[in-house]
């Protein structure tokens, strides 16, 4: 690109370079002869023309957020249609790909007119926008609960209300979970596919090596601190680690805040939202991290973990404990080659505060706006088949589990109910005999999590809030003298600004 030529001296043979320079210098002589005023006028004229054109072309980008008309899925003619689905993450193992292909084959056998193509996809806050703007997202892709409302408001995802309501189990959805994908009028734009509660994930092998009992993981934050210190001292790895980049720092800080009884946003009776990230619980959470990091020196030496890299570091035995979603085991198998014996999971400790709760979140499946009506029908068929069947029908649950097992993928990873508790319990029974994860290591969490109050993520500008809290977490972990009050007050101001900004 233009500047690279002049800006990038590197990597060129010197003489070519000097030769080029001497030529350029003569080029620059021409400047003095320029009829400057004439060019200026011309530019202005060009500008005027293009301003008009520019507005036109931007406005012409796809804007339709989908028709709300009745679904054509029961139409008699099924024209051939192709959809792309974003299921596999970059770097997924061949086994994971094979498992998906098996399911795609089953789907195509059931819906012979639909062709399904797998497209690599991974939602991360810093990369999603570019893909959205570019229209390169798969036809069916997933987003976190946090972004459902925002994308609906911006007309970036398709209204699939009629199509979803035609499914037999729609009444069984857990109402609060489904709400993440509904607009203000209750129209469904997104289908929740999985829900997680935050957990304390720990490495059983490192616990044993440090002389701790892997069967009695920490139950209070004081326990966490004590165990982290021991692991750091004995195993020479991070006793406790914390994600801090790609919005995960803010996400995890919110988790800790909830566990200590605080909230990040307050909504008053008029619906006005106030940022409250400088609340006492958040300060306490950061002080806790500060102590782990600087007083105990129990957090190792890496403080720029994101979701992917912390999973990887954990799987390779670099981390004693960390807080993460309860569904991480699947990724650790698919991408990180974890030794199952290492994996331990327990509920995160809650403070005695009545407001203390577990941050819960989850994944929504949505349909890309750049799709035809036929593709939208097929997309909902795919969601029904791939995400819902295994939760709602015995045949679906068994088929899904068998496909996973035959390709060495985990079955029985802890999750929270997307549907009501009865449906969930039933689905657990169906696959009981097929569970291939170290269930004994997970069963404590699986029962205990239902005793903990689940708290949804902040509802407005969630990812912005997380993004603004990342640097705060980073500062506390990398700067011994970080001023927590100051950092949180500044972040609060920034977040309030984002909340108050007019929706574009």
């Amino acid at each position: 690109m233009t500047t690279k030529k002049i800006g990038n001296v590197r990597g060129n043979s010197a003489q070519l370079y000097r030769f080029a320079l001497s030529y350029l210098s003569r080029v620059s002589e021409e400047m003095t002869f320029k009829p400057v005023r004439k060019v200026g006028t011309l530019l202005m004229a060009g500008l005027a023309v293009v301003i008009v054109a520019g507005c036109g072309s931007t406005a012409a980008t796809p804007s339709a957020a989908g028709s709300t008309g009745p679904a054509a899925s029961n139409g008699t003619t099924n024209k051939p249609v192709t959809i792309t689905v974003g299921v596999l993450r970059p770097g997924a193992s061949q086994d994971a790909a094979d498992a998906l292909n098996l399911q795609i084959d089953q789907f195509q056998a059931k819906y012979p007119w639909i062709t399904v193509e797998s497209q690599e996809y991974n939602w991360t806050a810093p990369t999603f926008t570019a893909a959205l703007a570019a229209g390169t997202l798969p036809d069916v892709y997933t987003i976190p609960f946090t972004d459902g409302k925002g994308l609906i408001q911006q007309h970036q995802i398709v209204n699939i209300d009629a199509r979803v309501r035609a499914l037999p189990y729609v009444a069984n959805f857990n109402k609060t979970v489904l709400a993440n994908g509904q607009d203000a009028d209750g129209k469904i734009y997104a289908v929740p596919t999985q829900a997680y509660g935050m957990s304390l994930t720990y490495n059983r092998t490192l616990f044993t090596q440090a002389g701790l009992d892997p069967n009695s993981p920490p139950a209070t934050w004081a326990d966490v601190e004590a165990d982290a210190k021991i692991i750091a001292a004995k195993d020479h790895v991070a006793g406790f680690a914390q994600m801090a980049t790609q919005n995960c720092g803010g996400w995890q800080l919110t988790t800790l805040t909830y566990a200590l009884g605080g909230r990040m946003e307050a909504v008053d009776a008029t619906g006005k939202v106030t940022a409250t990230v400088n609340n006492a619980a958040t300060k306490a959470a950061l002080k806790m991290l500060q102590t782990y990091r600087w007083t105990d020196n129990a957090m190792g030496s890496t403080f720029d973990y994101n979701w992917g890299s912390i999973n990887q570091a954990f799987s390779s035995g670099q981390i004693g404990m960390f807080v993460g979603g309860s569904d991480l085991y699947t990724t650790m198998v698919q991408n990180n080659n974890i030794n199952p014996a290492d994996y331990g999971i327990t509920v995160i400790p809650l403070a005695s505060d009545p407001n203390a709760g577990v941050l819960g979140g989850g994944t929504l499946a949505v349909v890309n706006v750049n799709t035809t009506e036929g593709q939208r029908d097929a997309a909902v068929d795919w969601m029904d088949f791939y995400y819902m069947n295994k939760l709602t029908t015995e045949a679906g649950a068994l088929a899904d589990a068998q496909a996973l097992i035959s390709n060495k993928q985990p079955v029985g990873v802890p999750a929270l109910p997307v549907f009501d508790k009865a449906t969930f319990d039933q689905s657990q029974v169906w696959i009981k005999s097929l569970i291939n994860v170290p269930d004994a290591q997970m069963s404590y969490f699986k029962t205990k999590i239902f005793d903990q109050p689940l708290v949804n993520e902040p509802s407005i500008d969630t990812q912005t809030l997380y993004a603004d809290l990342d640097p705060v977490v980073q500062a506390v972990l990398t700067d011994q003298n970080a001023n927590i009050d100051q950092l949180l007050n500044d972040a609060n101001t920034q977040i309030q600004k984002a909340i108050d900004a007019p929706a574009s």
């Binding site: 370079y17 620059s28 703007a133 972004d147 020479h236 919005n247 720029d304």
Partner: protein, 315 residues
Amino acid sequence: MDSPARLAVAPSGTRKRRGPLGWVSRDGLSSLLFLLPMLVIFGFFAWFPIVRDVVMSFQRTNLVDTPKFVGLDNFAAVLNDPLFGKSIGNTIYFSVLALVFGYPLPLILAVVISEARRFKGVLSALAYVPVVIPPVVSVLLWTVFYNASPTGLFNTVLSWVGIGAQPWLQNKDTVMPSIVIESTWANAGATMIIYIAALLSVPRELYDAASVDGASILQKIWHVTLPQLRGILLITMILQLIATAQVFTEPYLFTGGGPANSTMTVLFLIYHYAFQNSLGGDYGMAAALSIMLALFLAAFTAIYMWLTRSWSTNS
């Protein structure tokens, strides 16, 4: 520009006045054909984007709804963003560090290597190897070197000489120097080659004359070599400043701008505004900041042009 000596051959008589039709039928059409690639490419990928950038800096747009003109709001928003000042500070810090670390090293290497009596080729090839490695690979490799645990590669080496483990990329005070060290390693070889070539063109008689006048080696370097290289030294400096004002790849890959925004650079901030908010970028703010950066770079480019001109006429 129109000095007769330079005026290339125009078909005789074709430039005389005549009607547009005649012009098109003669060599106008072929001129147009030859201009076409440039008109199309520059039109779509240079001129139009420049204009659009200016327009967008006054608009609020999410690419879906109709853009709204908001006057200078975007510029105000950028100027009021605490990250703005921070990113400028970081970029200047990077540039200064890159000058301190990266500017003398290639020159010293070039002088030493061009004086070598044996292994000259081996020496310059060794120094050039890092340039050949794709920059992204270098950064990813150095991320492993910079592992901040006591068993990290650099920390292991430091422990041999009794220095404690350094946090490298994991601390706001050490992160920028760490990035600059990698970047110097990756780029010094290329600049060195330029200097080696320049050194060849220093007239040897000057050294001989200096020797005769009793100059020591260091005096010869100071009084002969450096003055002779003055022009190229100045130019590499300006080019380095222009390049470092646009630094992005290294902080993006090494730290994602962290810790605590201590490596957020200006170009990174533009990228951040436009592409890092998961609910849609603020293209207006990105455009506004782009305009500011463009004005700054244009000033440097002008200085550069002026310098190269005077340099080429002086030497």
